[in-house]
Structures are given as structure tokens and as C-alpha cells.
Symmetry: C2
């Protein structure tokens, strides 16, 4: 296999499938870890040269020894060898530093992630599902604080999208009959490529094994040639588009074996990622757990359009569970077998994708990474969405409007705007029918993670369901005044045709009427010039002679009162669990205790997101303070404000440390006076103002 | 089969399974349609006697005719026959009236239901799922207003239960590995009995067919004997507890055939109602879509107990999808294959089921139907929950507290308190381990529907998972002071036993130490009286002789610092979709148009539940009114109030009619002044006050 062929290999299928694959690897992190590329390349070359020098100098020393050379001569040679080795070590260090990145690389990232994840698991933000039975890979529970965060994120999503934009929210079942997912293409194409350990039968994702191999080589093996490094990088950046055959070839070529046993691997073959089941007791009706919520909206288009007064544009939205039977889930909360999606399908006239509220977002500026700029040496840059649409970087206003709204949504939740970018899909990442597609990617310890996909999917989905169900999924535009249009009119003369073709007359008639415009116009010209033409009637399986007396073909002006068309759909699709995980990483930091001997974990959530808004505690244990605390608690409950009351005698410092781990933004302390603590500005407040200190405060 | 045996047939399994079955039929509606029973019975007898009289008089007339009797004699006989026939018709009418009930019976109910359902479907409260593909039985989508109602109901549930009671909310996956559902008993017992059309293979629920037969006979066939009527009623009230064999016998006995084809039916056999699937690519790991959310809480007990500071009582809650692969779903939204459950598991010390907030609900009075009163001639009566607990009708305070809270929850949503009752499970309805169980039942056109089950399940679930997973799921009560307890101490004298039993000594030792209290005490007495006893060591498979020098057995007082126990669980479980459907029926009414020529559909939702809180419209079409309407709309959006703006020129009456169908409780009309319409009191307001009328108002 020549690697260059990979770059042109065709994309098997559309957006949903492709997105899933793109998500699967964080290969993009590699593709764009660019800046360093040229120096990495020259260092690899230098290292390989230095290695040769070390070897040849080593040989020379050995030869001198064998020849019994003079001590001074030998010493000089050894000294030169050592100098070369030092130079080599220095090059290796530089190379390692570049490979690991400026921040110390994956080691630091993993330590950071471990600190976040430990706090999350200890405070039950999430729990591996069915833990007492050993758990199931890729399934997680949200514990109390995680569940509250999720509920807050979804509540804000409803306010920000559904309510603000007057969307039509629907709620469809997860169990989906086969025919729906055949129409959408999932039954045939929603697959990952799998390999099996030929002896133990353990399954692996083929691209994961190849990715691990390439990463390992590139990061740990300093001796690979510059050419080999280039090749491995090219493999990595094309992982998503490798065919089964190409993947298989790579696995053979690099001698990749099963990671656990070192046994040989089978050839890669497709595994459908949908959970399959059977609907009803007969066993003959196949169903699947939906892999996305969008299809439930598409199949309801006709009713929703009617509900909206037969007017476009309008958007429908759905929040719900989706299921993907991953081959071997990893990356914790980022790659799971069941997850919550929030999806919007905005239906719009393909001839008018303007948006009345675009001016509300046009001024927003954020990191965008257009298709053409995704090459070595470039990274995302700040562009205003108004400019991006005006300069056609983003295809249309409606798509641009949603990109802006998604930006506002994510940053309001607490996503750091400096670690959020909108990346445009490359041409070979998009489905053939897609008009344009942008992913909101958030940077985490795992690299850049796609959390929201915003795609202009043209009319593909509605057409697919319309074709399969034989139900029209169309919209009409009523003209305010009738419009004149030119239409081709084919008028066969029945009597003449009847006499000429007898029993075949019906088939000839139908064939004439069924002619496409181009064919009919050619016949018209031919009849005008020759008076007679040969005409193939497929239902008869032969040619017949048609002359000018048998048919008139003309272009006529007609008045039309409306236009009928299949709407385009613009789809923002949110992976809620991923957004929440990214939020955890972006909200987490450590603060030292007052004496500097301890480190406390803090989640600095915006109040909007915080699982518990407020803690209430008496500064010292006194019955009257407890009473006051309970009164406050009661009135907070009545106002629907989640809070925690802590009347333990523990020191205030420890109590703050406890609530900091849960990201509680406010605290009410009861003393002779009431005080309000606002975590969001705590660090600033602490350093800026004089503060009361008592014996029981340990920070 | 003698019907009386049915009454004593044992219950196969616990609450979840049993509940499901109880839900399956509205047989209770029959069991308690009592009052009429005695007159029904005497009418059936009278009818049967009258029928005999008619027949014998008929025979007499025929005999007179054949004998050529005199006209006067024949006329008198015919007159008597006609009089008898009239009397018979009159009895039939009375009987039919009693069977149909005072309100005209099932015909009226079905017409009412049809009116509700038509409005619901037309306004997209719900939509049969995958409609363009012909739909799937038992699967429904919530359209925009239905989705908003659901979201409001769940929001209020969170406020009323989770927040008010400081519950620990969790969110677990639907995909569940087999071992969890084996422990809970679902894999073995979560079944319904099914029969197959022996020729076409179509599947039916055996109890449904039997129920339909009995209902049809009782309601339509006036000629069945009083004894037969009694028998059929007894079958109906025992449908839930019939074994496969008993059901099969009934089907044979009554000659029931397949409803569509009249083909013979197979014997009933169990069909597991869980949707089965496979987790991961290997195909060897069986999973199911969870049939309830509760198991996800039980398996997390240990972590949640820790999260709660190792303190009891506490409650965990979960809202989520559950799945039941019904054999042949019917009853529309009441029996579906996928639905939203909201479940609470309140963990409590079995020795202390008091509730600190019980006094908050003790005064509440509502319809309760205790077990002992569920017999002919009785119906639910108003009892205060305080009295019910005090008189031990309800087992304990915590159970009583939740019954009270459920009452408040349902009535706040808009459920009519006169059509809501709390029915206690009969002894044969409950699982053997259940302490007590009450269902909140709501009366609808389908009869009384169980919408919430509130059960004291003792320690059953935690023990089942602890046994299967080998993980302790226990709580500790730390004593404030150590307590003295008497403990049995068995001290074998190793040296003596070693000398006596040589190679067998270890087995003898272990057997002695493993003795149960009773056995040990008997040995102690025997040793004291006889000095030597025979002792069976099962690991040796034989008796050995034990004498007083080999073991001392004594009762000693020990100090204990804590008590370790498995908590009891009190489980309120809410079928959200059912509650919502009942709410629709209770909120629906028809109001005539002003001219009385039309009937308008109205849902009178409380603002809390209403899918759209408010409509805004200009009374007449004027640009300045439109502007004002838009300003109002914007500020409603900003306050998070869902609303609809209607600037069409349609008449105000029609616009009100439209919003009434969606249950919009408020309207803001824009004129030279602003007016607020409050639908909740509209009818009263309309009749009580003089009202402005303009040409465009048509009501």
C-alpha cells in the first residue's frame, strides 16, 4: 500500500457515520500538533546521523583496543566517543521535549486528569455502573452531584435553545424498528472495523490498535527515521478514512499483534455498533436501540410542519438517550455505550438560509479553524462569525447563527473560551450531500474533543425517509401572486397512435408521456427537421416509429401558485456527557491550604451549573445558630435553591474544603451576623481584603 | 378446575412482577363495581324465571293452535304471552342499566375518551411513533405540548420530592447486564403468560383473552345464569393470580379461540417481557433494557450510604426510561413498551420507621381503601393519613408520610381528588417479603388505573444483590454507649480434640464452631447430663463422640459498640406517562360556543403543568399593537415563560378556542389597554361579569 493513496480514498458514508469515526480517535490532535514538525524532522535526521557517528567512533575505539594502540591515542578516541554520546543525548532530549509538547506532555496531562477523575469519583459525580458486579466497560452512573450538573445543563439548554428560539421539542422512544434505521443508512453503514485475537477471540477496534502503535513509535522510539515518522503521522491523520483492506495491510506491515497476548490478529471486518433487540413476542420484528435522536424528528416532519402552521423555517429539538455498542470503550466518560444527546433539526428553505436574528450574534469573536487553514504550521484563529459568514468561510447565515449560539451556550456553562474552537470539516470528512459542517471542539487532557457538531445536511434525511416510507416530506411556498413559469407539455394524439400501434398503443402513450425534458426537446427538434424518429419503448423492448402527427411537444407558460420542495436541515447535535466532562476539567483547580501543607480540590462552577448552589453553616456550634440555619434552609428549599446544611462541629476550613470539591459557589455562615461567601471570587477576595480568623479556621 | 381453588393459589413472585400483573387488567374495576351485585343477581334470576315462563306460555299457545282451540281461548293465551314478553323486556332493561352503570356505561366512557384522544392527537400532545412507517404498537412520541407537560411534571417532581426531601438523585444506564437482573429475579420471573394462534402464530396475552371473554359475557349476554355470572366475576377478580395451567383450563372450558381467526389456541406459556440484547462485540455477554430504574439505586447503596455520611434514613431517586416488551399492547398511553419512571428508594432502619416530618401530612384526608374493606358493597372512604397510621391501617409513619406526599403531588398537578384513591394491596397481591403496599389509583374512562405504587419492600432487594455480588450492603448504628448483649461462645479444646481425632481433628473443630445456637445449647445440656454425645460431622459423613473435656459451651455477656443490619426500603414508584394521561382526562371538558352551535375542547391545566403558559395577541390587526405584542413576548422569553404570539387576523373567539385546546391558562390581549385572561376561572368570570363584545368575537 502506498500511503499517498490513503489521502484520496473515498468516504464511505455521511455525516453521522463519519462523525462517529472522527470522534473515535484524537488523531486530529496529532494532525495539528504542527509547529514542531520541521524542527522534529531535522532533529530526527540529526539524531540518526549522530547515531552513525557514535557507531563508527565506537568501532574505531574497538579497533584501537584490538590493535593494542598507545594509551594516549586510545584515550583521545574514547574521549571523542563520549563527546559524541553526549551530543546524541542532548539531541534526544530536545527531540523528546518536542514530541511531548511545551507543557511536559502526556505525563503532566495524565496526572492532571487523574486528580480530576479521583475527585469526581470520590464525590460521586460519576460511578462505574454496576460496580458491585465488577462493572461494564463504557457504562457510567451519574451520582448525586453529577446528576444535578446534568439536570442544570439540560435545563439551560432548554432555556437557551428551545424557549429562546421557540423550538418544537419532541420525545421519541429509544426502541426503533429496523425499517427506520435502514432508511437512515445505519443498518448498513453504522459500523467500526474490528479485529479478533485469532486464538483467544478477544475483539479490538482495528484503528485503535494501529493508532496506539503509531503513537507509541512516534513518542517513545527516538530512533525511527524521519521518513518513518512522516509515514506514521500520515497514517494517524488518515485513520478515519482507511478501508478495511488498508487497515489490514497496515497491521500486517507493522507486525501489530493482540496487545494482551501477542497473538496474531484476524483481518479487519465491520461490526455494527447498534444494540439489536426484538420487538414483540414473535421474534420476527427486529429493532435497535437508537444510535442518535435525530431520526425521531425526521419521521415526524409532516406533523411538526403542520403544527407550525405549514411555515418554514422552524426547528424541532429532542433530548434523550442514545446507544452505541462500542467494540472496546476507553477514554472514560468520553466514549461510552449509552449517553444523552440533545439534538436540533432546523428545517429551512434551501433557497433562503438567511436568519432574522443573525445580527444578534454577528459581533461574536472566537477561535475558528477553517478547512483551508488546517495544515502544518497553522492553528485556529479568532474570527468574528459575522466576518466568517460574509467571507463565505461559513456557508450561510443560519449555520453561522447556530455556531454563535453554541459558542454562547458553552461559554455560559463555564467552558474556557481559550480552549474552545470551531473546526470546519475537511472535504473528505463530510458526507457527499453535506453543505458545510463545523465541530465545536474543546481542549482537554485527552486532546481536542468534539462536543457539538453543527452541520448543514441539505435535504438528505427527509428524502431518504420519504423514499422508504412513500410519504411526502415536503414543504410548500405559497406565492403572494401566481408566478409564470415555462413548462414542457407533451400531448400525444391518441387517435393516430391507436390506429398505428393497436394493442401496443397504451405502452407507447405512456412512454411518450414519461419522457424527460431533454429527450422530449430532442424529439421535438428531430420531428421538426425529419418528420419521423425512432423511439425506444422499454416496456415493449423495441423501437417504434413516431411521426409529427402522433405527438405535439411544446413549451407553454403556466401560472403557478406555489413551489413544492424538500427542506434543508441544519443540525446542531450536542454530546451532553462530553460537554459535562470538559466542564469538569475546565472548572477544576487546586488551592493550597493556609499553612501550605495541603492541596484542596476545587471545582469553580458557575452558579448556573453548580450541583449545590449554597451551603449553610453556623460558624460555631450553638443551638440558636442551628435554629437560624434551619430557617434559612427552609426558605432556600421553598425558593427551589439546592443547598446543604452542615451543622457538624468540623472546622470552617474543612467545611469549605468539602464544599469546594462539590463546586458549591455560595456559602452562608451564621454567626452573630450572616455572611455570604462567593466562591467565584474567593481567591481574589481572600487576597484583597482583611479577613476574620478564628481558632477553628485552618485555612 | 374448581374456581374456589383460584382464591388460594400462591403468588409466584414479588412486588414488581405482581404489580405489573395487577396493572395489566382493570379487573379491580369489576371487583368493586359492587353495590349493584345483589340486585343484578336477583334480576338475572328473575330474567331466567321469566324466560322459562315465556317458553312454557309459548308452548301452550302453539299447542292451542295445533289443537284448533277457540279464538277467545287462543287470544287470551297470546295476550298472556305478550304480557310475559313485556315483563321480560323490562327486566332486561333494568339488568342492562345495572350492568352499564349509572352514567350510561362503557358507551359514554368511550365517547368521552375518543373526544380527549382526538384532541390530544390533533394537537400533537402525542403521536404514534414511526407513524409514516405504519407505527409500532405500544410506542408513542410526545409532540411539543406533550413534551412540555412531561417536562413540567418532572420538574415539579424534582422540586416536590428530590429538593424538598434532600434526596440523592442518580442517573443510571438503561442497558443492564444479565447478572443484575438475575439477582433481582427479573430474568426468571418477569413474564406474562402467552398463547399462540395455532395456525397463524399470532401471539396474545392469555389473561387478556380470558378477561375479554368474561367482560363480554357479563355485559352483553343477559341470559347467562346467576351462577355463571358469579363464576365469571370470580375469574375476573382472580385473573392476576391464575397459573398457566389454570388459565389454560379456563380457555378450554369456555371455548375461547383466537379473536382474529377463530383458530384454536396453544396452551399458555411464560414470555419474558424484557428487551434482550448483547453487550460488546463478542456476543457472549447478554444484556437487557432495564424494566425499572430501581435496580440502579440498589446496586449503588454502599456508595450512596457513604455519600450520606453513613447515616440513615436517606432516600435516593431516579428518573429514567424503562422498557417492557409487552405481548400485545393496548389501552393507548396506559400500556406501552417504553416509558418514563420516577422512582424513590427510601432506606430506613427496620427497627425505626418513624418519620420526622410525618406531622406535616398527618392532617391530610383523602379516599383510602384498606385491604379489609375491599369486598362487595364497600368502596374507598375518606380517612386522614394520621388516623390510618395511628390505627395501623397503614403499617408505619414513613410509608404514611409518602402516601401523604404522593397525594399532594398528584392533586397539585391537577388530578381530581374525588377520582383518586389509595388502595392497599390484598394479602395475595403482595410479595411474601413486603410489609405493606398501597397504590395511588386514578379513575379514568378505562376504570381505576394504578399510577403510583408505594411499597415497604423490607430488606429484600439489598439482600438479593448482596448475596449475588458477595458485597455487603449493610448499615451500622453506632451506639452512643456500648451495649451489653448475651452471646453464645463455643470453645473447643484443641489439644484434647487433636489427641482424640488425629487426622480428622480439623473437620471436627470446624463442625463444632459452626453449630447453630439451638444445636449448641442442646449439646451443652446433653453434655451436662450425660457427659458424652454423638455429633454428626457432615464433612466426615459420620458421627463422632464428643465428651465434656473436648468443648465448653457458655453464654457470655459482651459489650457491643454498634449494630449492623440490612436497611428496609420504602419505594414510591411513579408511572409518569400514566399520570400524564390521567391528567389529560381530568383536565378535559367541552364548552359550547356563544351561539351554542359548536363545542370547543378545553384542557384546564394548572399553570404549573400547562405546556404553554400564556398567549399574546392584539385584539385587532394594527402595526402598533403588533409591536407591543412583540415586546411582551421578548420579556416573557427572558423570564423563561413559555408562550405563543398570535398575530393572525383570526377572530378572538377562534384564537381562544385554539389556545384552549392546548390548555393555555393565561392570555394577554393588546388593545388600547392590556387585559389578562385567566382560563382557570373563565367560565365563572364569563357568567358573572358583563363583557365587552366586538364584531370579531364569535363566542
Amino acid at each position: 500500500m502506498r500511503i499517498s493513496t490513503l489521502l484520496t480514498s473515498s468516504i464511505p458514508f455521511g455525516h453521522n457515520f463519519f462523525n462517529r469515526r472522527a470522534l473515535a480517535s484524537s488523531s486530529l490532535a496529532f494532525r495539528f500538533r504542527t509547529m514542531a514538525d520541521s524542527s522534529e524532522d531535522s532533529l530526527r535526521k540529526a539524531l540518526s546521523e549522530k547515531q552513525s557517528e557514535v557507531e563508527s567512533q565506537g568501532n574505531q575505539v574497538r579497533a584501537l583496543k584490538e590493535a593494542g594502540a598507545a594509551k594516549t591515542e586510545l584515550d583521545a578516541a574514547v574521549k571523542a566517543l563520549n563527546a559524541l554520546k553526549l551530543e546524541k543525548t542532548s539531541i534526544e532530549k530536545n527531540l523528546q521535549a518536542i514530541i511531548s509538547g511545551p507543557d511536559g506532555g502526556s505525563v503532566n496531562k495524565e496526572a492532571f486528569r487523574q486528580a480530576v477523575v479521583n475527585t469526581l469519583e470520590r464525590r460521586l459525580f460519576y460511578i462505574p455502573s454496576f460496580k458491585i458486579y465488577g462493572g461494564v466497560a463504557g457504562l457510567y452512573d451519574y451520582g448525586p452531584p453529577g446528576c444535578a450538573v446534568k439536570s442544570n445543563v439540560l435545563g439551560f439548554w432548554r432555556q437557551h435553545f428551545v424557549l429562546e428560539e421557540n423550538m418544537l421539542e419532541v420525545d421519541c422512544p429509544c426502541v426503533t424498528p429496523e425499517i427506520v434505521l435502514k432508511a437512515s443508512g445505519h443498518v448498513e453503514k453504522f459500523t467500526d472495523l474490528m479485529v479478533k485475537d485469532e486464538k483467544s477471540g478477544t475483539c479490538y477496534r482495528a484503528d485503535h490498535l494501529l493508532k496506539d502503535f503509531c503513537k507509541e513509535k512516534l513518542e517513545k522510539d527516538l530512533r525511527i527515521t524521519s521518513e518513518m515518522a512522516m509515514e506514521l503521522k500520515e497514517v494517524l491523520s488518515n485513520l478515519d478514512v482507511l478501508s478495511a483492506e488498508e487497515l489490514g495491510e497496515c497491521i500486517k506491515r507493522y507486525g501489530i499483534t493482540a496487545p494482551d497476548t501477542r497473538n496474531p490478529l484476524s483481518n479487519p471486518y465491520p461490526f455494527n455498533l447498534m444494540f439489536q433487540t426484538s420487538i414483540g413476542p414473535s421474534g420476527v420484528s427486529t429493532g435497535f436501540m437508537r444510535p442518535e435522536t435525530a431520526q425521531g424528528i425526521f419521521v415526524n416532519f409532516r406533523d411538526l410542519y403542520y403544527y407550525n402552521g405549514n411555515k418554514l423555517p422552524f426547528a424541532a429539538a429532542q433530548i434523550g438517550q442514545a446507544f452505541r455498542n462500542e467494540i472496546s470503550p476507553r477514554q472514560g466518560l468520553l466514549r461510552v455505550r449509552e449517553f444523552t444527546l440533545a439534538e436540533i433539526e432546523h428545517f429551512v428553505d434551501p433557497e433562503d438560509k438567511s436568519h432574522p436574528k443573525f445580527s444578534d450574534v454577528a459581533h461574536l469573536e472566537f477561535l475558528m479553524f477553517p478547512r483551508d487553514e488546517q495544515k502544518p504550521g497553522h492553528s485556529a484563529r479568532i474570527i468574528s462569525i459575522g466576518e466568517a459568514v460574509a467571507s463565505k468561510i461559513v456557508d450561510n447565515e443560519t449555520l453561522g447563527y447556530f455556531i454563535g449560539r453554541v459558542y454562547l451556550f458553552l461559554t455560559h456553562l463555564g467552558i474556557d473560551k481559550n480552549r474552545l474552537r470551531f473546526r470546519q470539516h475537511l472535504a473528505n470528512e463530510m458526507a457527499h450531500y453535506a453543505q458545510d459542517c463545523w465541530d465545536a471542539e474543546i481542549e482537554t487532557s485527552y486532546g481536542w474533543i468534539e462536543c457539538v457538531g453543527i452541520a448543514d445536511r441539505s435535504a438528505y434525511d427527509l428524502k431518504a425517509h420519504s423514499e422508504k416510507s412513500k410519504v411526502d416530506l415536503e414543504a410548500q411556498e405559497k406565492y403572494s401572486e401566481p408566478r409564470e413559469v415555462e413548462k414542457l407539455v407533451i400531448s400525444p394524439v391518441k387517435k393516430v397512435i391507436g390506429l398505428a400501434f393497436k394493442v401496443d398503443q397504451k405502452k407507447v402513450l405512456e412512454a411518450l408521456e414519461a419522457m424527460k425534458e431533454e429527450e422530449a426537446l430532442k424529439m421535438k427538434t428531430d420531428l421538426e427537421s425529419k418528420g419521423e424518429v425512432e423511439f425506444y419503448v422499454c416496456t415493449l423492448g423495441k423501437n417504434v416509429s413516431i411521426n409529427s402527427s402522433m405527438v405535439t411537444i411544446s413549451k407553454e407558460k403556466k401560472k403557478e401558485h406555489q413551489r413544492v420542495f424538500t427542506p434543508s436541515v441544519i443540525e446542531p447535535s450536542f454530546g451532553i456527557g462530553r460537554i459535562i466532562y470538559c466542564l469538569y476539567e475546565h472548572s477544576y483547580y487546586m488551592r493550597p491550604s493556609r499553612d501550605g501543607n495541603e492541596q484542596f480540590n476545587v471545582f469553580r462552577f458557575p452558579p448556573l451549573v453548580a450541583p449545590i448552589k449554597c451551603t449553610v453553616f453556623p460558624l460555631v456550634q450553638k443551638p440558636e445558630y442551628e435554629e437560624v440555619s434551619k430557617v434559612i434552609s427552609k426558605s432556600l428549599t421553598a425558593s427551589g435553591i439546592s443547598h446543604k446544611i452542615d451543622i457538624t462541629g468540623t472546622s470552617i476550613g474543612k467545611r469549605y474544603a468539602r464544599t469546594d470539591e462539590l463546586g458549591v459557589p455560595f456559602a452562608i455562615t451564621v454567626d452573630s451576623t450572616l455572611s455570604l461567601r462567593d466562591l467565584r471570587t474567593w481567591a481574589d477576595v481572600w487576597s484583597a481584603f482583611p479577613h476574620h480568623s478564628s481558632g477553628s479556621v485552618d485555612e
